[in-house]
């Protein structure tokens, strides 16, 4: 990762990202990630996780990654057990409240097998935002007085205007951001429906940005909803078409998460420990040529059922 925001800026200055087609396969896009990179993952918890890209990253057996994410979930368990990630920066890690503590997190942290940095949600958000704004840090009043800052790069400082105690959060400029969007045109102009979580800041902070999307839109469609464009083309380096690209996680207004899938996954871990996660990876990732293979295992019927479930909830 670039040491400073100025270095990140220099990398960005050197790069020309013209308005030309950036469409490629997930495999081609994940070849842009190098061992040891800091990879920021879009979405949060089991929502709008760039799962098609994460599966491909694991399939390509990338190693030594630092992974950051607002709330980490199954995808981070997979990345840890696959040996892809050896450092995680997040505010929280579990599958979801209903599935209890993460056994994988417990084993990896309690056993000292992973470097784990816990930050509050807003603090991580400020770090991405500083990176996106091109400033070395942002000040806040959060995390003060707690035991959290001691384990992080944050530092306290006195406000030169008011004398207040502030916590300064230094910029994160990830090497790579992986984002799953609802639609994107071939140039990279991306649209995300619903909450954009921390995706926009993490992408703009990153040196390389890969966007997968439920579908490729025509540029005219992006123009027609220009006020809803989340990322402009010049932020984006690669565009990947990935229908159901967050599955088994959810995608706002498109499909609910596959809660039964999570339950089977967690039950298997309860019974077999992290070996069950390796089995999961063998079956769902390594035995499959691509993400479509995994979706084939899930089956069209199940996908349709999760879509119907999201439609039932819609008030739009």
């Amino acid at each position: 990762m670039p040491e400073t925001v100025r270095e990140a800026r220099r990398l960005r200055e050197e790069r020309v990202t013209p308005e030309t087609s950036k469409i490629m396969s997930a495999a081609e896009a994940m070849a842009l990630v190098r061992d040891g990179d800091h990879v920021a993952l879009g979405g949060t918890c089991f929502s709008r996780t760039p799962m098609a890209l994460v599966f491909e990253l694991i399939r390509q057996r990338r190693t030594g990654l630092t992974v950051s994410r607002p709330l980490a979930s199954q995808e981070c368990e997979l990345l840890m057990v696959a040996g892809a990630a050896d450092r995680v920066i997040t505010s929280w890690l579990a599958i979801g409240l209903r599935w209890g503590l993460s056994r994988v997190l417990r084993e990896y942290v309690e056993g000292g097998h992973i470097e784990y940095e816990e930050l509050s949600h807003l603090s991580l958000g400020m770090r991405y935002k500083a990176g996106a704004m091109g400033v070395p840090y942002l000040p806040t009043y959060t995390m003060l007085g707690s035991d959290l800052p001691a384990g992080t790069a944050a530092r306290e400082a006195e406000c030169p205007f008011t004398g207040d105690t502030l916590l300064l959060l230094p910029a994160i400029n990830p090497d790579v951001a992986l984002i799953h969007a609802h639609s994107v045109d071939r140039y990279g102009n991306a649209r995300i429906d619903g909450s954009t979580h921390m995706d926009v800041d993490m992408a703009r902070a990153a040196s390389t940005v890969i966007v997968s999307a439920e579908r490729i839109a025509e540029p005219e469609e992006i123009v027609a909803g220009a006020a809803s464009t989340a990322l402009p083309h010049f932020v984006v380096d690669a565009v990947v078409e990935a229908p159901y690209g967050s599955y088994p996680h959810d995608c706002h207004d498109r499909y609910e998460a596959d809660y039964d899938h999570f339950t089977s996954y967690v039950d298997a871990i309860k019974a077999g420990g992290t070996a069950a996660v390796r089995d999961y990876l063998d079956r769902h990732v390594h035995s499959q040529r691509d993400f479509a293979g995994f979706l084939g295992l899930v089956g069209a019927e199940r996908l349709a059922e999760r879509e119907a479930s999201a439609r039932e909830l819609s008030t739009r």
Partner: protein, 258 residues
């Protein structure tokens, strides 16, 4: 639901008590699980103009009965919302002072209302690695006042938390303000045994008892010495309206079953 409203689970009792603390017309930042159910039920009963805010960047969701959100970011959580923004942005609203209440659960809470959801044991080499703060630290740091709801067990109500994930009154006597925090911190803790508040020094205090519970019962389940308010009183049992609202939202007892 066929269960009569004279019977209720421990969770229903806690949710009903917590719900009763919420004044109409306010804005509440609720964690998922019991805080959200209690808030949504308040909105369906005595506080129709309560605005619920969720950390996924969701303002004013309408929770569908039987489809309680499992996370504060999921498809269910954003149903019927008036505004969808980012995670970071929602906490910036909190920092600016827009949120009257923050509403949290607790794995461990101490005499000063400090909450631990990070690690049991040593930070560097924990005995149990818990899921972590998520937005809880920010809610505790930034919302105008903080309400906590948790079960009353000695392993939860400890002398001193192993790790301060979410700041309460720290070590009391103004230490919260001296640390630079800009909001009031926890004002009430709701449990299955009691309603607790904090004295002027920031120390937790027994304010009221759940129906049929004694001061001694509470003391026996609290891991530190708990002062008793001079006018401690007994809370009423949950009213019919709030119980029906809770059961409509959670018909299968997913959140309030125990």
């Amino acid at each position: 639901m066929s269960t009569p409203t004279t019977e209720y689970t421990t969770s229903e009792l806690m949710a009903a008590t917590a719900s009763g603390l919420l004044e109409d017309g306010r804005v509440i930042f609720a964690g998922v699980g019991m805080p959200l159910v209690a808030s949504a039920a308040a909105k369906r009963s005595h506080a129709p103009n309560l605005t619920v805010v969720l950390e996924g960047g969701i303002i004013g969701p309408e929770i569908a009965p039987g489809r309680l959100p499992i996370s504060t970011n999921d498809v269910r959580a954003s149903r019927g919302a008036a505004m969808l923004t980012t995670i970071t942005d929602i906490f910036l609203y909190a920092q600016r002072g827009y949120f009257d209440y923050g509403f949290l659960g607790a794995a461990q809470i101490d005499r000063y209302g400090n909450i631990n959801t990070s690690v049991i044991g040593d930070r560097a080499k924990p005995t149990v690695r818990l899921p972590g703060t998520g937005g809880a630290n920010d809610i505790a740091s930034l919302c105008n006042e903080v309400l906590v709801v948790t079960q009353h067990e000695p392993r939860r109500f400890v002398e001193k938390v192993d790790f301060v994930t979410s700041p309460g009154h720290l070590t009391g006597d103004g230490s919260r303000q001296r640390a630079g925090l800009i909001s009031r911190g926890p004002t009430r803790v709701v449990t299955d045994l009691a309603l607790l508040d904090f004295d002027d020094s920031g120390h937790m205090r027994l304010r009221a008892l759940q129906p049929g519970v004694t001061v001694a019962d509470v003391a026996a389940r609290t891991g530190f010495e708990l002062p008793v308010h001079p006018e401690v009183y007994e809370l009423p049992p949950p009213g019919e309206e709030i119980l029906l609202a809770l059961r409509e939202l959670d018909p299968d007892g997913e959140t309030l079953g125990e």
